[in-house]
């Protein structure tokens, strides 16, 4: 007992030795940790707005943690007109249960049901384990602000190198929930913003909201057999930008393609990059170079007769490095 006490005492003295800056950093990480849990554990409902370049979306979210099982319904409120014609009045609904996502997507006289996998959707943007973030970013406490009529603490995530952008995260001072996040490039221009406009905590445990609104005048169909398959091929990325790890590898048949597309997803904990590999089709000119769309960089490369495409809301250097580092390992000894 005495040993434990003295250990605590020593630890306290040790902490006192830190300067105030590292205390502030500890507080910042603590707030982010709290935000990561709050988004998954609390029951809430609200409306958030997502902006990327000129595009805007309003989404109504209902989230409930039902005995450890996370249930979310996202209703996309303003279906923008496509090619000048207004789209269906029925909103697109996205249901998620853990990382399984079911999308009800009204299209003319049909409703297409799409199944996806995904995680870390707003406001659960932060991973529960922050270690990966800590290796690539420093966290800093910013000023207090008000979001959706509630007090929020700003935390800044500042990249330690040029392979990622910076983030500003607003956390609710009462509930800890992430209520706003922005993405800034190296020139400190805001690329993306996602923020609650309305937010309230739910007191009921009623699950009646967790069902799609069914329009019986429409025909429901599963989306065309887009086969998703988790694979282990011999594609390797020899040198990933620091801090990025492979989080997923899938293979799918894209519309109008004759061979499956390999997609690998890399993440540093918050930023993510997709790598696509598919054979170059005869008679079609392969793509090279890079381009910026909104906040997304795309870089194309050709490796051993394959089209390589790297896409992510990250600096150009990151997609370029990944595009260059792809190679095909002919050995299968490791399998």
């Amino acid at each position: 007992m005495l040993k434990i006490l003295s250990a605590i005492l020593l630890a306290t003295i040790g902490f006192a030795g830190f300067n105030s800056a590292s205390f502030a950093s500890e507080d910042a990480w603590l707030a982010l940790q709290k935000a990561a849990f709050a988004a998954r554990e609390l029951n809430y409902q609200g409306i958030f707005v997502y902006q990327n370049g000129k595009q805007t979306r309003s989404v109504q979210i209902t989230h409930m943690n039902n005995a450890g099982q996370e249930l979310t319904r996202n209703m996309i409120l303003d279906n923008q007109s496509v090619a000048g014609k207004p789209t269906s009045k029925q909103p697109r609904e996205v249901f998620s249960q853990g990382s399984d996502i079911v999308i009800f997507h009204p299209k003319n006289d049909k409703v297409i049901i799409e199944k996806r996998r995904g995680q870390n959707l707003f406001p659960a943007m932060l991973p529960v384990n922050l270690n990966s973030l800590k290796t690539s970013y420093t966290a800093k406490i910013g000023v207090l602000d008000y979001i959706a009529g509630r007090q929020a603490q700003i935390i800044e995530l500042i990249p330690k190198d040029a392979y990622r952008y910076s983030y500003k995260i607003w956390t609710d001072t009462e509930f800890g929930l992430l209520v706003k996040m922005t993405l800034q490039n190296e020139k400190n221009e805001t690329l993306e913003q996602i923020t609650f406009q309305e937010l309230s905590m739910l007191n009921s445990h009623d699950l009646n909201w967790y069902q799609p609104s069914i329009d019986l005048s429409k025909k429901y169909e599963m989306e065309d057999a887009t086969l998703l398959n988790r694979v282990h091929t011999n594609w390797i990325v020899a040198e990933l930008p620091p801090g990025y790890v492979k989080v997923d590898h899938i293979e799918f048949m894209a519309n109008g393609k004759t061979a499956p597309v390999n997609q690998m997803i890399f993440s540093d904990g918050i930023a993510s990059v997709s790598l696509f590999i598919e054979p170059v089709v005869k008679g079609q000119r392969p793509k090279m170079g890079h381009h910026l769309i909104g906040s997304t960089h795309i870089c194309a490369n050709i490796v051993e007769g394959y089209q390589v495409m790297v896409v992510g809301e990250v600096p150009l250097a990151t997609v370029q490095q990944i595009a260059k580092a792809v190679s095909f390992k002919k050995q299968t000894a490791t399998r």
Binding site: N52, N120, M222, D248, E251, S267, F276, V280, I293, G294
Partner: protein, 158 residues
Amino acid sequence: MKEQLSALIDGEFDVENAEHLIRSVKSGGELQECWQSYHLIGDAMRNEMVLSHDFSARVLSALGDEPTVLAPQPVVKPTIAKTSFFKTNQFWSVAASVAAVMFVGVMVLQQQLNSAEDSSPIEIANSMPLEYLEAHQAAAPSGAAYYIQNVNLTGAGQ
């Protein structure tokens, strides 16, 4: 009729009085389509392996003259014969053929190595592959851009 069918599937309609519904579902047409929609939605929401689109139609025809099989238990949420699908050989043969297709896909992928050196590369900016953008946004973790998905992306970068 559609509302009654909905209530029946939700277990909120008296099964004793449902014979007319079951008869019209079985006779095909609009109500049968509704029946299929409901089950498709139910399967998707319950996170079950959704089988082919006409699967429920085939089940329906296989059920023959047993209307009571169609009727869900009154209070409990309907789970019509679903577990048994997975135990049948039919399910596993579907799964096996899917696996075979994927395997062939990989073979094709690997055989096409070095098959296209005959056309010169094009600059990406002149031919934007938006399908990749969409696939990235659909699958990437913490994709805030997820909500932009399926918007008319053409010209977004100009």
